[in-house]
């Protein structure tokens, strides 16, 4: 079954901006799905339409088969939303926010209090249950919004940049939490600017740009479309001269490490062998850029090249 189906969804704002130009999107039940795109691409508008925060211009949105035009309440009951901006009452206590939100979904207060305890404990906020929400740290506020979105145990959870502005430790713990949630059966749609996050967590991906879906596939399939990757090789001794590696584009980085571009038809063994033969000992290696980031930039820059817009790559 499909957790989400969008058909020919369009949105034109009153100022004439066409945020969505007829997008089609399917997300399977149980999936962990990444919706990516540059700022202003239409991600938040699409999420807003699904969650009834934005009026669509035309098209259809179905959540677990419930049409948001004809079965809005049933569609909303299946959905939990963690928005980009803080949107709880900052004068209310953490516990009050959660119990009230549960009430809006028809959950009686006694049951709501039990669920609040479960989710606050899972998100390590239980100690803060009586704190006024504005006193929470940025990471805690994000986790509170996740707890609020989960209080009615939605089948589909949409997170709009949930880890923006939180430190790496909190981000990693959120990743673990979301993975566990997905393993337990919740379908998750994630938008993020940390492409490493999407690559690590998500099985399917859609890239939206200028109101259109320009890529929609399995993460692995999308990543295979990258023809080359740049590896940074850290050597035991700093390298002063660029070693000659026939067939490979090699250059020296500022810290004395070596950067090698490797295409799909080439392999790393050849590079290691050639370097070893020249007495260069490689002690560690990493991707220069996140693979998804690389692909994302190529796709978006490709659009700009097609439309004749200047891009850093095109003007370089």
């Amino acid at each position: 079954m499909q957790a989400l189906s969008l058909r020919k969804l369009t949105k034109t704002y009153r100022n004439g901006v066409q945020a969505l130009k007829g997008i089609d999107l399917d997300v399977e039940q149980g999936d962990f799905f990444a919706l990516l795109g540059p700022n202003g691409a239409g991600k938040t508008t699409a999420i807003g339409i699904i969650a009834s925060l934005v009026n669509k211009t035309s098209g259809r949105a179905l959540v677990f088969g419930h049409d948001t035009d004809t079965q809005l309440e049933a569609a909303k009951a299946c959905l939990g939303l963690v928005p980009q901006e803080i949107n709880f009452n900052q004068f209310e206590k953490v516990s009050t926010i959660l119990v009230n939100q549960a009430g809006f979904y028809g959950i009686p207060r006694r049951v709501a209090k039990e669920r609040m305890e479960i989710w606050l404990k899972r998100l390590q906020l239980w100690e803060k249950r009586d704190a006024v929400s504005r006193t929470l740290s940025g990471g805690m506020k994000r986790r509170l919004m996740i707890a609020r979105a989960l209080i009615h145990e939605p089948r589909l959870l949409i997170l709009d940049e949930p880890t923006a502005g939180v430190d790496i430790e909190v981000r990693r713990s959120m990743w673990e939490f979301l993975r566990q949630l997905n393993d337990d059966g919740t379908t998750i749609i994630l938008t993020t600017h940390y492409l490493e996050e999407a690559e690590n967590l998500c099985r399917h991906i859609a890239i939206i740009d200028e109101g259109r879906i320009i890529e929609h596939d399995r993460m692995a399939t999308v990543l295979r479309k990258l023809h080359s990757e740049v590896f940074v090789l850290n050597t035991r001794q700093p390298v002063a001269v660029v070693p000659e590696l026939p067939g490979y584009a090699v250059k020296l980085a500022d810290d004395g490490s070596i950067e090698v571009e490797v295409t799909k038809s080439q392999n790393l063994n050849e590079i290691f062998a050639a370097l070893s033969a020249r007495g260069v000992e490689v002690v560690s290696m990493r991707n220069k850029a996140n693979r998804l980031e690389e692909l994302f930039m190529r796709l978006v820059e490709g659009r700009d090249a097609e439309t004749g817009l200047a891009t850093p790559a095109a003007t370089a």
Binding site: Y13, T45, G48, A51, S52, L53, V54, N55, L72, E73, A74, K76, A77, C78, L79, L81, P83, E85, I86, N87, F88, N89, Q90, F91, T96, N100, Q101, G103, F104, Y105, G106, I107, P108, V111, R115, R148, H152, E153, P154, R155, D184, G185
Partner: protein, 269 residues
């Protein structure tokens, strides 16, 4: 699907979630009123006390009788009604606009609640504050004068309808407001003058004919007089017309508020 999700889905299927949702909105609104009691209950109590001291005791003693009762007894229902009008309007306009401004209105917009129920929840919040403050002002009035209720039904019907109407008007104001100036504009420049000129402090029979006709175009006159009739048994206007106007106004405004929510005016992009 988890057991919790199943329970929510079943509730939505049978509409059972609506009552819990409505109750939650009302509890949230009432908690807000009590949490900020220094802003919601105390100021109208102080204002009413000053009115009773200055207009009732000091000036009223020199005015003598009006409509066959002491001036204090005459203005008491008007002052109670004035506090109900101001507070039911003020509660909804500030609470709903605050929710828009802080974006926590989205908590309700994403929830499976129909728009009429959201409007009804906020109106109930305004009604509760209006009645609570009205009760406080009534108790204060009893320190200064004796209040005799002639027609309890008229008192209750008038106060409930008035509180509902002004809660709905506060909702409309909050829907269209884009900043805090716009939520104080209507109470300051429209509501207060209309209330003062709506027969709170005087009988329109004291006015020249042309001023009486102008006064009759003021809807607040009908509400104050319907309420005063419940206490004193006298009214400057036709009572059937007063209650008919209030019922129609409440129904039309409720429909308008729900329509604004359906359209997403001020709430959805």
């Amino acid at each position: 699907m988890s057991a919790g999700a199943e329970a929510v889905a079943a509730g939505v299927q049978h509409g059972g979630h609506r009552w819990v949702g409505f109750r939650t909105i009302v509890i949230r609104e009432f908690s807000r009123i009590m949490r900020i009691w220094g802003q919601t209950i105390v100021p109208p109590a102080i204002t009413a006390t000053l009115y009773f001291v200055i207009f009732g005791s000091l000036i009223g003693r020199r005015i003598g009788e009006m409509g066959g009762v002491t001036y204090m007894q005459y203005i008491a229902p008007g002052l109670i009604m004035m506090s109900v009008i101001t507070n039911s309007y003020g509660n909804v306009v500030s609470s709903f606009f605050g929710a828009k401004f802080g974006r926590h209105i989205e908590e309700l917009l994403v929830a499976p609640l129909p728009n009429w129920l959201i409007v009804a929840g906020y109106v109930m919040g305004g009604l509760l504050r209006g009645l609570l403050v009205g009760l406080v002002v009534t108790l204060i009035a009893l320190f200064f004068t004796r209040l005799h209720v002639e027609h309890l039904g008229a008192v209750l019907a008038a106060v409930l309808l008035t509180a509902v109407i002004f809660s709905l008007l506060g909702f409309v104001n909050a829907v269209f407001a884009k900043n805090f100036d716009q939520i104080s504009f209507v109470p300051t420049f429209i509501l207060t003058p209309m209330t003062y000129l709506g027969g709170v402090f005087y009988s329109i029979a004291m006015l020249p004919e042309w001023a009486q006709q102008i006064s009759k175009a003021n809807p607040i006159l009908y509400m104050v007089n319907a309420f005063r009739y419940g206490f004193l048994g006298t009214s400057d206007v036709n009572l059937a017309l007063s209650f008919a106007l209030m019922v129609v106004a409440a129904a039309v405004l409720f429909g308008a508020c729900v329509w604004l929510m359906e359209k997403g005016t001020g709430t959805r992009e």
